[in-house]
Amino acid sequence: MRRGSSKKSGQSNPSVNSSAADLFRSASSKANSKELERIDSLFYTYANGSSGLIDPEGIEALCADIEVDHTDLRILMLAWKMKAEEQGYFTLDEWRRGLKALRADTVSKLKKALPDLEKEVRRPSNFSDFYSYAFQYCLTEEKQKSIDIESICELLTLVLGSTFPTQVNLFVEYLKNQNDYKVVNMDQWMGFFRFCNEISFPSLSDYDPELAWPLVLDNFVEWLREKQK
């Protein structure tokens, strides 16, 4: 906004106001660069000297500082905000992206930003994206398309456990007890999310296996119905 008005004033009185604008710009950019500097230096306090990345150890240290357990969902949310690609590692770019968006350049600011971050993630428009991100984040090997049952159960509990506790608990139980599937892929992962959102529990009255639900959910519903008898 300022910039706009300063442009105008720049036309009428170029010499005086442009320097003001420049001053401001340089001030704000100074502030910006100061912020960036702080963000960067914060990065390097956690980063591994040889790799230039924050590695799992560094993340653990970070977690200790912001007083959040490293298995806490909020770390995953932070990773989402950073658009971090590799699980367990943050690059400088990712770090910058995340912290800048959160306007946090110190540990305390970061800590304070967490509740808002959580609210932001839980907004329905974002949560679906976050949910699919969570899956992709866990694909560690190149060309890996699916995740083993054990890990899926943990991830599911972590990500959806508070929102849909009943469904998640039952689905985890089912997955652990069945033998047809050893892994779960993205399609099935997303399918379960839609399932929680669209199908009424525990009646399951509006579930129609004729529709294109992933087969694993057809089997899950059958298992549930058997159980309910």
């Binding site: 398309k145 699916s146 892929n185 993205m186 399609d187 099935q188 399918g191 839609r194 004729e210 529709l211 294109a212 639900w213 992933p214 087969l215 057809d218």
Partner: protein, 732 residues
Amino acid sequence: MSNQKKKHFQIEAFKHKVVMDPKYPDKTWKILEDAIHEIYNHNASGLSFEELYRNAYNMVLHKFGERLYSGLVATMTVHLKDIAQSIEAAQGGSFLEELNRKWNDHNKALQMIRDILMYMDRTYVPSARKTPVHELGLNLWRENVIYSSQIRTRLLNTLLELIHSERTGEVIDRGIMRNITKMLMDLGPSVYEHEFEKHFTNVSAEFYQVESQRFIECCDCGDYLKKAERRLNEEMDRVSHYLDPETEKKINKVVEEQMIENHMLRLIHMENSGLVNMLCDDKYEDLGRMYTLFRRVTDGLLKIREVMTSHIRESGKQLVTDPERLKDPVEFVQRLLDEKDKYDKIINLPFNNDKSFQNALNSSFEYFINLNPRSPEFISLFVDDKLRKGLKGVNEDDVEVTLDKVMMLFRYLQEKDVFEKYYKQHLAKRLLSGKTVSDDAERSLIVKLKTECGYQFTSKLEGMFTDMKTSQDTMQGFYASHPDLGDGPTLTVQVLTTGSWPTQSSITCNLPAEISALCEKFRSYYLGTHTGRRLSWQTNMGFADLKATFGKGQKHELNVSTYQMCVLMLFNNADKLSYKEIEQATEIPAPDLKRCLQSLALVKGRNVLRKEPMSKDVVEDDAFFVNDKFSSKLYKVKIGTVVAQKESEPEKQETRQRVEEDRKPQIEAAIVRIMKSRKQLDHNNLIAEVTKQLQSRFLANPTEVKKRIESLIERDFLERDDNDRKLYRYLA
């Protein structure tokens, strides 16, 4: 009048007025009235037609038509009333005769009267819009005679009674019946209908209701139908003899309803004589009768068809699930063919080749044949048996007939790909052991399969035939280029293209030295002309002819499998061999070796080896010797056979699994094909299209198709639409 020249006489008009005699009309009418009396009294012969005609003519001319007409009406009415009385007075049987006679009289009289009054009929009647004489006569008869209270009811009852007696077997005077009904019809169509026909149909309905009830209690189905048919014929006969033709369809309807429609189900389901019994006992005549009769009523044929269908399905189901029957596959299939023949005949003859019945038969067969998952295998075994020996000596046309019948069963199969798998296996064994009865028959069947299922189905089978032929040529070439081998063992090699032949695991064993060397020569010869190929010996599939000399000098030619040959040849260099030694020398896998030794040592009549100890099973510690005491009536002794047999349980599972595995890529190919052309399609439609495409090979399981779709999504061939979860999109 000619215009003559007036000469002597002139014709002049009357000089005085002509005054009509006032009594003229009465006098003239009296003449005519008397005449009518005479006519009715059968005294017409004394009358002069010309005079009467003239009188009538004059009356009309002088404008007394009205008088004449009303006089006629009055006179006729009087006479008819008299007539009615005389008819009423008639007793019993003569009632109808009297009526008939009087009717004839009346008609004759009427004719004469009409002739006399013809001028009036032609001039006065139309202009005064009166009823013409003839019609008037009929109407007056109707009003005064038929509708007379005494006559009306009596007439109807008499007619109905007579018909009833005829129905109960008595003979009646049909002539008079004819005349009476004709009379009613002449009096006007509604007269016949109201005075007779309506009541006739009602009474008949009652009659047949009672009769059908009686019959159904005491007759069996076949008899009942005969009786019903007879009654129907009777009624038709009755109509043609003395009723109006229009009555035919009405009375038919009555009989059909009472005798057939009302008892349809009871007849069909009658114990010991109903439809099912007729079908089982091939009672063509009864079935034909039932068909013809039931066709006349609504839903008659439908009911027959329903019961027939459920019977065929039920008995078919029992047939295919009966464990006794399943012991012999060839018998099993023969039984199916016999059943089909039986019903084909039934539908052909008594059921008039009715297409809807044929369809019902087909759908029933399709239903129960597929209840048994081994049907494809068994049908292939049946074919195998026929092509091995069953069709030996049979002429070409009969061969075709048999193969066509097999094809018909094949068409009913839902899992045609399972049949293909087994057929390939059995064909391979037939070809390799040279045990086919007729090459032409084999090829003929392949052609039929191709016509039915397309080129893809049979391309591999044809490949097998080609391999056999090519191998022959190769062998010729081999021996031509190696003339020095003439004295050694004769080798025949069949080179099989992998992919055309059923998959086998190639475990080689150690061949005897002479054979091995020969094989090597062949290998180099072959690879010399076909570079880039790889040959692997299938020692578990070959056979050999050995010349053997036993202890007492008896010579035999032994036909054995390759494995057996390897074992026997060892005894050229040793008298005694332990199991372990044989195993080591031949490297035949243990289960095959055990079976091989069993067939050489433990089968009576074929025991060219002796085993110690003499126990039933072959175990590792056994020792083997040549059986010097071996004897057989035949010079050529056959020991190893590679006959196609019904699969054991584990083999069956394996084949089933392979079929399932083969289906997966086919399903995926179908999905991809469909999605590629449609670009996007919803779930249910995709499943439907895939199923349709694969129908000619097998029945696709929707769950399996869904699994394949998900697999394709995972591999990025398809994606789900973001907004509509049911929609799939093709990813190019």
